[in-house]
């Protein structure tokens, strides 16, 4: 399992995203209402850059003629054909069990950053809190 620090948590506030390349894979990291998720940046339909799509809510299943718009900020749409995926689990809304995008584990961790001092054999250790880490 590869562990990759992708940035400071403070730089990824709720509603924002960051698209990174890890181990030659394009991956989107999202802050959805304070929780972090990562999805493969490729739509399972025709391989469009899914993670670049608009983040919205959706119309939940309802009776004919009724609209129940909800889940604002939790749904991403493919920028090509508009297929909707649940950011929290990568599953498509129309067929969650068969049509889904790969997800990756995300953690927010305190990361110790070691910096090498020139020409001495000691190391200064600095603790920077709350890095977003993706495990793939």
């Amino acid at each position: 399992m590869g562990r990759h620090v992708v940035g400071n948590a403070a730089e990824l506030p709720p509603g924002s995203r960051k698209i990174v390349t890890l181990e030659n894979r394009s991956i989107g990291v999202f802050n959805v209402n304070g929780a972090y998720y990562a999805l493969k940046n490729s739509c399972p339909h025709q391989a469009a850059p899914l993670c670049a799509g608009p983040i919205k809510g959706t119309n939940l299943p309802s009776k004919p003629g009724e609209y129940r718009y909800a889940r604002e900020g939790e749904i991403i749409r493919c920028p090509w054909h508009g297929w909707e995926f649940d950011l929290t689990n990568g599953k498509s809304l129309f067929d969650p069990h068969k049509c889904l995008v790969k997800t990756y584990e995300v953690a927010v961790e305190e990361v110790r950053e070691e910096q090498e001092e020139p020409s001495v054999e000691t190391y200064r250790v600095q603790i920077e809190a709350n890095k977003v880490v993706v495990y793939i």
């Binding site: 025709q46 391989a47 850059p49 608009p54 090509w80 508009g82």
Partner: protein, 359 residues
């Protein structure tokens, strides 16, 4: 010229592609207006379809050029995003003038003419050093004689390869009021392309019974007009009257063809008496006169079903690849089809269009 060399390098690798439906857009309304004369010049404010728009997004959201402007407005970015990555050798351009919905035939003809001049100057002119862009002559079918004159005006142009109109029309396209258009097409060896656009809008009839409520209905049923137009072309004897005339059905759906032809061939056995100018079974006209472009390609759950449909419709000879870039329902050359037999893939992605457009 550096770009030309790059394009040639791309062409030598991978599968060569001819894309039969790519949409160029003007950078602004003024760009089109600059090719118009009064009284139309002041009147024209640009116009789209008006309603039945996609409620989510109508264009690929990643197709906006980095230097600004709308999707499909920058020929260099189209090269970067579409032609180079997929190995396109040619892109057949289908401008969207939406002039076919207007009640005033003179105004509609003026818009068509301005679009043709704009396309010739820009995408087919100063942005076409490598010759990858091939154009469609926009016509207003409201005035078939004026449309024929517009075809005459551009027929000698090296990069216009067909005549095009929206599928929206006041009457099925086999009817005789349109024949001046087909006569001009036949005379100059230019196929007549039909593209969805103004069905049920302005002066045109809706191919479904009345107006649908939602975009999903309207968009799904676009294929109905294409079926009606094709049956009309065949039964009115257009291909007997104009033996050199060819048509291409662009973005009208694909897999309905076998069923429709079975039905029509069956009808013909009983009703040939009514249309004695049909000297052969309806489906026998297809290979000589009709091509269908692939996008939007129906994808059933079982790829085997689609492969059967493609075999049934003789896709190896009448289907031509189209992407519909930069529209929202763009079909990727890499992912739109299941794995095809090599010979069929070569013909669909390249050879059929190469022969049809004499490229």
């Amino acid at each position: 010229m550096e770009q030309v060399e790059e394009m040639k390098a791309t062409r030598s690798t991978g599968r060569a592609i001819i894309d039969c439906d790519v949409h160029p857009y003007p950078k602004s309304v003024d760009e089109i207006r600059s090719y118009m004369q009064e009284p139309w010049k002041s009147r024209y404010r640009g116009s789209g379809r008006g309603f039945f728009d996609n409620p989510v997004h109508g264009m690929r959201l990643d197709a906006t050029p980095p230097n600004g402007g709308g999707a499909g407005t920058d020929p260099d970015f189209v090269r970067e995003q579409l032609l180079k990555p997929f190995g396109h050798e040619y892109a057949v351009l289908m401008p969207r003038a939406f002039c076919n919905l207007l009640p005033d035939p003179d105004y509609a003809t003026a818009i068509a003419a301005a679009y043709n001049e704009w396309l010739a100057d820009t995408w087919l002119g100063k942005h076409n050093a490598d010759g990858v862009f091939k154009g469609s002559i926009t016509i207003a079918h409201q005035d078939p004689h004026a449309a024929a004159r517009e075809i005459e005006r551009w027929a000698g142009h090296p990069h216009f390869v067909q005549v095009m109109t929206d599928s929206g029309a006041r009457a099925p396209f086999g009817q005789r009021q349109y024949y001046p258009i087909y006569e001009a097409c036949e005379k100059h060896g230019l196929p007549f392309a039909i593209h969805p656009g103004t069905d049920g809008m302005g002066i045109n009839v809706q191919p479904s019974p009345g107006y649908p409520t939602h975009y999903i209905e309207w968009h799904t049923c676009l294929s109905l007009a294409f079926q009606a137009h094709l049956v009309s072309f065949l039964t009115e004897g257009v291909f007997e009257r104009f033996p050199g005339f060819k048509i291409v059905l662009v973005e009208g759906g694909v897999s309905w063809l076998p069923g429709l032809m079975w039905r029509l061939d069956q009808e013909y056995k009983a009703l040939r008496y009514e249309v004695p100018w049909m000297t052969k079974r309806p489906s026998e006209y297809l290979r000589d006169h009709v091509r269908i472009s692939s996008q939007p390609l129906e994808r059933p759950d079982d790829d085997g079903h689609l492969l059967q449909m493609l075999t049934m419709m003789d896709a190896e000879h009448i289907l031509m690849f189209a992407s519909d870039y930069p529209h929202w329902d763009f079909d990727s050359p890499k992912h739109a089809f299941p794995k095809l037999p090599d010979a069929m893939a070569r013909r669909i992605f390249y050879e059929n269009a190469k022969e049809f457009y004499k490229l």
